[in-house]
């Protein structure tokens, strides 16, 4: 297969795996946050803040991977 076709294929598969990774990670984070809020509703504000920060960081990592997929697909 030519390198361009392989690059596109790799970009597609890579983006899929990135999405899976981000989804699983943030899903577990949200689950833990829900459980913590359920146990102690007074702390739900702090939990929400920490959850958003952690979600942004995890998404940052996911977007690094996505960036590489973009480079593969368009260069």
């Amino acid at each position: 297969m030519e390198p361009t076709a392989l690059a596109f294929l790799a970009a597609g598969i890579g983006a899929g795996i990135v999405a899976i990774g981000a989804g699983v990670g943030i899903g577990r984070l949200a689950a833990a946050a829900m459980e913590g809020s359920a146990r102690q509703p007074e702390a739900s504000g702090d939990i929400r803040t920490s959850m958003i920060i952690a979600a942004a960081l995890i998404e940052g990592v996911a977007l690094f991977g996505l960036l590489i997929c973009f480079f593969l697909a368009f260069k």
Partner: protein, 396 residues
């Protein structure tokens, strides 16, 4: 209350605002349609996301931006060329265009290039001499400037108000002052003080500037034809560079000691840990830049792609399927736009938070008897930012 009416004046206002917002978002679609006629849709999407030498206010106009070139002529002297637009640069005859690998040198070729509007995507090179720097005004530069002007225009009057005393000796008055105070107090109390500790107020100007510039830039990027300056790696890179420079200038000696001679670690691990720490210093800040850049440009790309889906379906399945897919596509775009609005705020918050965290980590000073305390197992030293192995305790 008396007789409750179903439709009051305020309800009409709200309905009107919703309709206006939806139409505002849908406005540029005919513009996208017009552009898609010439090239395939993915190129259009990319050209709208990345930086460009024009502002597309389709279907009204395409504003070409001025081009500035710093060249070195064949004799070896430097020259700065300025043109009002790409077309005029090509008309002057001093430049050749390089578009998709093909060099357009003759005047009639250039005319043809301009006529099909593809000259905006070409790279320009001087006919004789070499190009040192392309200092052209680009789209992201214009919107970054606009965002900076908005921040200055919003906050300088508010600051003047505070200097006159309203808000310090008396309660803040007016919408803008109260709004600004909400955000500024939020940044000071939730971001700066918990992470930097006592010296927070020194870095507050930088953190506030970064927060509001990023916020305004992100929000400008959500407006249909404008773009986000922060969706450019150069802009976010410079912001991260500022954080890095501030962290380096104001670093305490303990910071350098922690990097180059990590305490509390057995000696044979140190050669591994020291390069990791040094690299970590740079990757942390690079991650800051990339995170913001990727979030913003991915957001623009997704919104444009969802609308472009209509055109892709049109190309693949014909006109009827395209008309059918219009409504779900538009609804999906509205939904994603709402999410991107949230992401705009969150990314500004996260950038500022991590900047504060990094600055706090470099500014933090520990008591010099730190090492002995650890070994003797004396009362634990409470740090503003917890070192590894400590849990965060609440400072009195």
């Amino acid at each position: 209350m008396g007789n409750p009416t179903v439709f009051s004046y305020s309800t009409w206002w709200r309905v009107g605002l919703w309709c206006a917002a939806i139409l505002w978002n849908l406005g540029p679609r005919p513009g996208l349609a017009a552009e898609e006629g010439d090239e395939n849709i993915s190129e259009v999407l990319i050209h709208h996301t990345v930086d460009g030498y024009y502002i597309a206010l389709e279907p009204i106009a395409t504003i070409e931006l001025p081009r500035l070139f710093l060249l070195r002529t064949a004799e070896g002297s430097w020259r700065l060329d300025a043109f009002g637009s790409t077309a005029s640069a090509l008309h002057s005859g001093r430049y050749v265009a390089n578009y998709e690998g093909h060099r357009y040198t003759a005047a009639d070729e250039l005319e043809e290039l301009i006529a099909t509007h593809r000259h905006l995507y070409a790279e320009l090179y001087p006919r004789d001499g070499e190009l040192v720097l392309d200092l052209s005004i680009t789209r992201h530069y214009v919107f970054g400037l606009l965002s900076a002007l908005l921040v200055a225009g919003f906050f300088i009057p508010v600051a003047r108000r505070y200097r006159k005393g309203t808000g310090r000796t008396t309660a803040p008055r007016g919408i803008w002052q109260n709004l600004a105070e909400v955000f500024i107090v939020f940044v000071r109390d939730e971001i700066a003080r918990p992470n930097i500790g006592e010296k927070a107020d020194r870095f507050l100007p930088y953190l506030l500037t970064a927060f509001f510039f990023i916020l305004f830039s992100n929000l400008l990027g959500l407006i249909p034809n404008l773009g986000a300056a922060t969706s450019n790696l150069a802009v976010t890179g410079v912001l991260a560079l500022f954080t890095f420079v501030i962290g380096t200038i104001y670093a305490s000696k303990d910071h350098w000691r922690h990097i180059f001679w990590p305490p509390g670690v057995p000696v044979f691990v140190k050669p591994i840990l020291i390069p990791v720490e040094i690299m970590g210093l740079f990757t942390r800040h690079a991650a800051l830049a990339i995170r913001l850049f990727a979030n913003m440009s991915a957001g623009t790309l997704i919104i444009l792609s969802l609308i472009g889906m209509i055109f892709i379906i049109h190309a693949l399945f014909g006109a009827l399927a395209a008309w059918l897919s219009t409504l779900p596509s538009v609804l999906l775009t509205l939904f994603i736009s709402a999410i991107k609005l949230l992401v705009a705020f969150i990314q500004a918050y996260v950038f500022t938070l991590l900047s504060a965290l990094f600055i706090g980590m470099s500014v933090a000073e520990h008591a010099h008897e730190h090492a002995e305390h650890e070994e003797e197992g004396a009362a634990p030293v409470v740090h503003a930012v917890p070192t590894a192995g400590e849990t965060r305790t609440v400072l009195p």
